[in-house]
Amino acid sequence: MNLWHQFLWVIFPYLALVTFVLGHIYRYAYDQFGWTAGSSQLMERRLLMWGVLLFHWGILFVFIGHVMGLLVPIEVYRAMGVSDHSYHLLALWAGTLFGVIALAGILLLNIRRWFISRIRTNTDTMRFLTDGLLLVVIFSGLAATVGYRIYAAQYDLPAEFEYRENIAPWFRSLFYFAPQIELMLEVPLMFQLHVLLAFLLFALWPFSSLVHVFSVPLGYLRRSYIQYRSSNPKAAISREKDRRKSRKPVGVDQGRKE
């Protein structure tokens, strides 16, 4: 374990995460108008439809897969009686399926960005970087999942690389501030690369259009159809509550004698 490892698995991830957090705060505070998905739909629609749908649905399930693999400790699965083999069977097939979908999507989006001149002209460096990085990260993730299996088959290694015993606890260790570097040292290169590239993406995240992830309009799922806005919502709401308490139905003239 040398300084190099220290940097790769402690300093760099923390730098990336701190940038991620503070960057978002900064961006949110100072660049409200720039907080956007930066859609290029005005310039091209046909490829976008396919690319966006494939990528977003793919990445959504890929994300769930990562939560399952990284955040849920292996002990939980074992306690639940899910065998390692079953887990990996699911992870491989479902992961590959959604990974390929996401990869196809992001590939399409990148091609579109590079080869349609009006989009290229209207794309800034950060967008090229993050779109490209997404492609590389997804590809490396997929390569780690599928590629390792092929690699392992050739060298008679265990068919499944159990990342839940090294990458996952290392990742979690970052969050309780006791990073376990040693766990990452023996991880295959493909996985290491995937992890590092992903952290690089996190570092760029707040300065790119990826911030739109945090603006998923979940509120639409529960809000009322008609929204009334007040310049002083607190007062308006409490007025409304008071009115309710007095049980006067809406629309009845308050001053009229019954």
Binding site: I25, Y28, A29, Q32, F33, G219, R223, S224, Y225, I226, Q227, Y228, R229, S230, S231, N232, P233, K234, A235, A236, I237, E240, K241, V250
Partner: protein
């Protein structure tokens, strides 16, 4: 926390719960409405201020300037102009994208925020002052030391400006001014600013200061070549033109050399609207330009050959509407309002072809025997023949009636029962052959050859005479039965000036030319003169512009269009109508304290100061016709200038080779009058005119201050010569050699090449432009949204204001305040080092004064050659002595002097003594306290200046107007005062125009009548009320008889082709095996700028290529392998330009267009040809002065500021273009 300002905290609203109602369908959201501010605040503002854009734009649009949090945010169009009534379109809407982009300058990176000075100079000055302790001694020690002087002069244009403090720069300026006055004289100081009409007080700031110290105020209109010399030649008036709303009244409109939608954008709507009324529109232009698309007919004429087209149209009109058929309206008009019936003497001439005559001077009363001779000013009264009696008649209205007792009540155009005979045919004694000049032949000689034709002649008073009309027919080649000479046989005979003949020169189809001419005249016949020609730079920027214009104007005069609403000329280029002219000129030139001011003819000044005369490639006789007397033989153009100086024709400053303050002192020492002293010294050759030795160190200008202009970046024709000789910039790209021995002047002294003449160049501006790059001192001034001022133009009948939306930011001050500030520093030093001195001003013989009847018959008599005696004010300049109190300049600056009511103020021969207005101003503005101006009306602040201008002018003060008309009634004997009586009570104030632009009052200061129901058109008062024009004949003149005009064969309108530069310069290509083309080089006005303004405005730059460009045709581009947007190099003997090519089929082959004022400070690379930075559009130009523009002392050929003088024509130039091969480096 109802309104958290931090968006992070506000973000928590997303999680807060609202209050539902209507069964959950609606909800009072927990989120506030903060986000709406994003769009609500966008257009919120604290105040709107009325202002406009100054100096160069003739748009006269009033703008709303919006201010928010103390910041100017944007501007939008005002809409409240005085109405044109229900039957005509309104002035509103007006305002173009250029104006709408102006507020960008306020906080732009090129804004000058602080005073700057050349670092080298500041170091030298501080060091010298520490040693000497006195600013004047410090300045002297720098400029008198050649090594030190060179050190800072050679640094010009190389950066190195450092921030300086106001007191220090004012002190340096004051020291330079006082030193120069003391050592060389006040007439070695120049203050240059153009176009006062569009910010009169700002102009007045500098010009008043210059006038009070005795400095030179050069004219600009002629320098810009916008001044049409034809206007004084024909009318004795300069650029009186219709307001744009009068286009609506025209039923036939020709746009000829003026690109209305681009250069008159806010007014173009009148042109398009008139088309809905049935107006026919004809466009004459070499390129397919923005106005061409409005045309019913487009005549694509070769550049500079417009005169040929006009002459051929004149041929058609004379033939079909005068000879073959007489139109009563035309007949009546030309008899009464033009010189066509006037008699002209014929001079006999012999050559190889036999005996013939040439036209000479007008016959005048003095030629008519004893009775005629006895009449006052007999040599200034022209004669026509009465058709009924066959006797010569001396009609009223000629110049002889304008002055003297006899003419009182007779200076009018009433014929008193006489019937002027247009032709002598029928009553002639003989038919004689006349020789006339033509210039289209003779490839080696610009003077052309002679053509022989004939006129009917009669012998009167010992002279053989004919009429101007008969001469015109001969000139235009319209033959009549039995007339001697050679005449064209028909329209298809290619002889001057038939339609077939013009086709060879112009490329315009002969049939089309005939048709348009016929339509133009027929329309005028049927509409009573409503045929109009809008003309401009495209036809006026040529060396022979006066001839081009005269041939075009002949069309409107023949057809009775001039002085009629909807008809006549509409000259639109660089016009500068200061409507409140009397009040403005009084204050601007400090006539309220002393007069005259050293008004200088701009072109003459710069031609000598920038030593361009040293590079002339031909002499003045080059253009002389073989029919002349050889009066200009062997003369260099600079010799002609020297002659015009000593004959009192043109003003000439610096005047003498001695300090004018010393001259008076020397005279005093001898106990004789300064006039007597000067005449004696001149005669004995001890004193010389500075123009006779312009490169002598004691004779050239030393100090130059620029404000409201970009002389070096935009209007320095012969730019590289300016840099080299006037400024001493080492890397000036002048590429030609000085004239060889045989082409040098005979009278003017030739010296070693002078470089770096100027000791101090100051630029006052709000943006860092080309001029400031080369300046020693740069002062930050207020923009047009930061000061009080007034604007008026000739195209709009209203006056309106500038108002400060904000106070000038950073350390900027308004022009008026800057000059007052400098004046204070100056006065302090002036009091100490100069005190009270007597200044001798040599002033030219002025138009609209009795001076103009000084040199009869236009005979040129040179006292220096002993042809006459030098008599000041008669055969040489007037010599006026002015007492200058150099310690009180600042006090005089800020108060109106007593000469206003004691001596009177005037314009164009009108004179007022407005004591009443002075009393009003004392009350309104308050008075100055203490000093020489104690108790006088204050003009300390610019808005007080504005109110004084408005109160002292007839156009804005009804009482003044009525009084002026009453005076004119006495001289003319016709009724006039009723024109303005309905508005006699009105006085337009600055507060009035700030609330709304106000329509001006008809006034004798101008020639047109106007009212609520009548649009302004020039000379309508002359036509309606029979008031004479201010010419020799009192009529509009086709013929001019000054000796030099005849020498140049320009007595009548004639076609002079563009200068044959290829002949004068030879092959200017460098070759070196590179593909090159030689193209005609035109510099018209741009779509994306107004002069130099806006071309560096980011918003405008985004509209087109964002840097220097030259347009060329696809065919020419192909010849040198250039594709659109490639970098090219253009060069000739004057300099080099580096630009991108705009390749377009709308440009004719053989021509390139570089739009005006592409300044050095914007994206200009290092040139591959010169190795120095590529130039401005004027790097490729050089001026040649035209001797006929120098004529003075003779009726309408008498000098007045911006009225007459050599024009800085730049359009005859050729340039080589090649593709740039090396990498573009900056």
């Amino acid at each position: 926390m109802a309104h958290p300002t931090n968006p992070l905290l506000r973000g928590l609203q997303y999680f807060r719960k609202g209050e539902e109602s209507s069964g959950g369908w609606s909800e009072i959201s927990a989120r506030d409405r903060e986000w709406e501010y994003a769009y609500r605040q966008r257009w919120q503002h604290d105040k709107i201020v009325r202002s406009t854009h100054g100096v160069n734009c003739t748009g006269s649009c009033s703008w709303k300037v919006y201010v928010k949090d103390g910041i100017i945010t944007w501007e939008s169009q005002q809409t409240d102009y005085p109405s044109n009534g229900p039957d005509a379109p309104e002035y509103e809407p007006r305002g173009c994208p250029r104006g709408a982009a102006f507020s960008w300058y306020t906080y732009s990176p090129i804004r000058i925020k602080y005073p700057y000075a050349r670092g080298v100079l500041v170091d030298l000055y501080r060091e010298a002052k520490a040693q000497t302790g006195d600013p004047l001694d410090a300045w002297a020690s720098i400029v008198e030391d050649p090594e030190k002087a060179k050190r800072y002069k050679a640094a010009r244009g190389k950066g190195g400006l450092v921030r300086a403090a106001w007191p220090e720069v004012a002190e340096i300026m004051a020291a330079a001014h006082v030193y120069t006055i003391k050592k060389y004289g006040p007439d070695r100081i120049i203050g240059f600013s153009p176009i006062p009409a569009m910010s009169m007080a700002s102009y007045a700031g500098g010009s008043r200061f210059m006038s009070l110290i005795g400095g030179i105020v050069p004219s600009f209109y002629d320098w810009y070549a916008d001044l049409p010399p034809s206007s004084p030649q024909i009318w004795g008036d300069q650029t009186d033109v219709p307001e744009s709303a009068d286009w609506w009244n025209a039923s036939y409109l020709m746009m000829w050399g003026s690109n209305v939608p681009i250069t008159r954008a806010p007014d173009a709507h009148f042109m398009t609207e008139a088309r809905y009324k049935g107006q026919k529109t004809v466009v004459v232009s070499p390129d397919y330009s923005d106005h061409t698309k409005f045309a019913d007919h487009w005549l694509p004429v070769q550049p500079g050959t417009d005169g040929a087209l006009a002459m051929a149209m004149g041929h058609v009109i004379l033939k079909e509407f005068f000879v073959e058929r007489q139109v009563p309206y035309f007949q009546e008009y030309v008899r009464k309002y033009t010189d066509l019936p006037m008699l002209v003497t014929l001079r006999e001439r012999e050559d190889g072809e036999g005996r013939a005559y040439v036209s000479d001077r007008f016959l005048h009363a003095a030629d008519l025997g004893a009775e005629g001779e006895a009449s006052e000013n007999a040599e200034w009264k022209t004669v026509f023949m009465d058709a009924t009696s066959g006797e010569p008649v001396v009609p009223n209205g000629s110049m002889g009636h304008r002055y003297g007792e006899e003419g009182v009540g007779k200076w009018n155009l009433n014929l008193g029962g006489a019937d002027p005979a247009l032709t002598l045919l029928g009553s002639h004694d003989e038919l004689v052959a006349v020789d006339l000049p033509r210039f289209d032949l003779g490839d080696t000689d610009e003077g052309g050859v002679a053509m022989r034709r004939g006129v009917p002649a009669k012998r009167i008073g010992g002279h053989l005479v004919t009429t101007v009309y008969d001469l015109m027919l001969a000139q235009y080649g319209v033959g009549r039965e039995g007339m001697p000479g050679e005449w064209p046989t028909g329209y298809d005979d290619p002889e001057p000036y038939t339609p077939a003949w013009q086709e060879e020169a112009t490329g315009v189809d002969a049939g089309r030319c005939t048709r348009i001419a016929r339509e133009f005249a027929r329309n005028a016949e049927r509409s009573g003169g409503r045929s109009m020609i809008i003309m401009g730079a495209g036809t006026n920027h040529w060396y022979h512009s006066d001839q081009i214009y005269r041939s075009m104007l002949a069309l409107v005069l023949l057809c009775g269009c001039q002085g009629v609403n909807g008809g006549g000329w509409a000259h639109y280029v660089g016009q500068e109508k200061v409507r409140p002219i009397t009040g403005w000129s009084t204050l601007a030139f400090a006539f309220d304290w002393a007069r005259p001011t050293r008004h200088m003819a701009g072109t003459a000044l710069w031609y000598l100061a920038s030593s361009q005369w040293r590079y002339d490639t031909f002499k003045a006789d080059e253009f002389a016709t073989p029919l002349g007397k050889g009066k200009l033989a062997g003369k260099h153009l600079a010799d002609c200038l020297a002659l015009s100086a000593r004959l009192g024709w043109l003003p000439s400053y610096p005047s003498f080779n001695r300090n004018p303050l010393e001259i008076t002192a020397e005279a005093e020492a001898e106990g004789i009058s300064p006039q007597e002293y000067v005449v004696r010294e001149l005669k004995e050759g001890r004193l010389r005119f500075a123009a006779e030795d312009p490169d002598a160190p004691e004779n050239f200008p030393r100090v130059l201050t620029l404000w409201r202009c970009n002389l070096l970046g935009s209007s320095s024709k012969g730019h590289e010569f300016f840099l080299k000789h006037l400024l001493g910039v080492p890397d000036a790209a002048v590429r030609s050699e000085e004239s060889p021995e045989e082409l040098r002047p005979t009278e003017v002294t030739w010296r070693e090449t002078p470089e770096g003449k100027l000791d101090l160049l100051t630029t006052i501006d709000f943006r860092k432009n080309g001029s400031s790059l080369y300046s020693d001192i740069v002062l930050p001034t207020a923009t047009w949204y930061e000061k009080h001022d007034i604007s008026s133009t000739d195209m709009h009948p209203f006056v309106h204001p500038f108002n400060p939306a904000i106070t000038p930011p950073w350390e900027a001050k308004s022009d008026w305040d800057i000059f007052n500030y400098v004046a204070e520093a100056f006065s302090e030093l002036g009091k100490k080092h100069l005190g009270v001195r007597k200044d001798l001003v040599a002033a030219p013989l002025l138009h609209d004064t009795p001076d103009e009847i000084s040199q009869p018959s236009g005979r040129v008599l040179d006292w220096k050659k002993g042809e006459c005696e030098p008599v000041p004010g008669k055969t040489m300049p007037k010599l006026a002595v002015i007492e200058r109190d150099y310690g009180s300049v600042a006090e005089k600056m800020t108060a109106i002097g007593p000469a206003v009511e004691n001596v009177g103020i005037g314009a164009k021969g009108n004179n007022w003594k407005p004591a009443q207005e002075i009393e009003y101003l004392k009350g309104h503005n308050g008075t100055a306290r203490g000093g020489v101006a104690d108790g006088r009306p204050s003009i300390k602040r610019a808005e007080q200046v504005c109110d004084a201008i408005l109160a002292l002018s007839g156009t804005t003060n009804g009482r003044m107007s009525v009084e002026g008309f009453k005076q004119l009634e006495t001289r003319t004997g016709v009724k006039l005062a009723d024109l303005s009586e309905e508005r006699a009570e009105e006085l337009i104030t600055f507060a009035d125009i700030t609330s709304q632009p106000r329509k001006v009052i008809v006034s004798p200061e101008w020639s047109g009548t106007e009212s609520r129901t009548r649009r302004y058109s020039p000379f309508t008062i002359n036509v309606d009320r029979s008031v004479p024009w201010r010419t020799l004949t009192g009529r509009q003149q086709f013929y001019v008889d000054h000796e030099w005009m005849l020498e140049y064969g320009e007595g009548l309108p004639a076609y002079r082709p563009p200068m044959r530069m290829a002949k004068h310069l030879g092959d200017i290509r460098e070759g070196n095996g590179k593909a090159e083309v030689v193209l005609k080089y035109l510099t018209p006005h741009s779509k994306w700028s107004i002069h130099s303004e806006f071309q560096d405005n980011l918003m405008m730059l985004t509209l087109f290529r964002g840097g220097p460009t030259m347009w060329m045709s696809d065919k020419d581009a192909e010849k040198i392998g250039v594709k659109d947007n490639d970098w090219i190099e253009a060069y000739n003997r004057n300099g080099v330009v580096s630009a991108r090519a705009v390749v377009s089929h709308r440009i004719p082959e053989g021509t390139t267009i570089m739009y005006h004022s592409q300044d050095r400070h914007l994206n200009v690379p290092i040139s591959e040809v010169s190795g120095t930075r590529g130039g401005t559009e004027n790097s490729l130009t050089k001026i040649f002065v035209k001797p006929t523009h120098m004529i003075g002392g003779y009726a309408q050929f008498s000098y007045f500021f911006n009225y007459y003088g050599p024009t800085g024509a730049q359009r005859d130039e050729l340039t080589v273009i090649r593709k740039r091969e090396s990498e573009v480096v900056y």
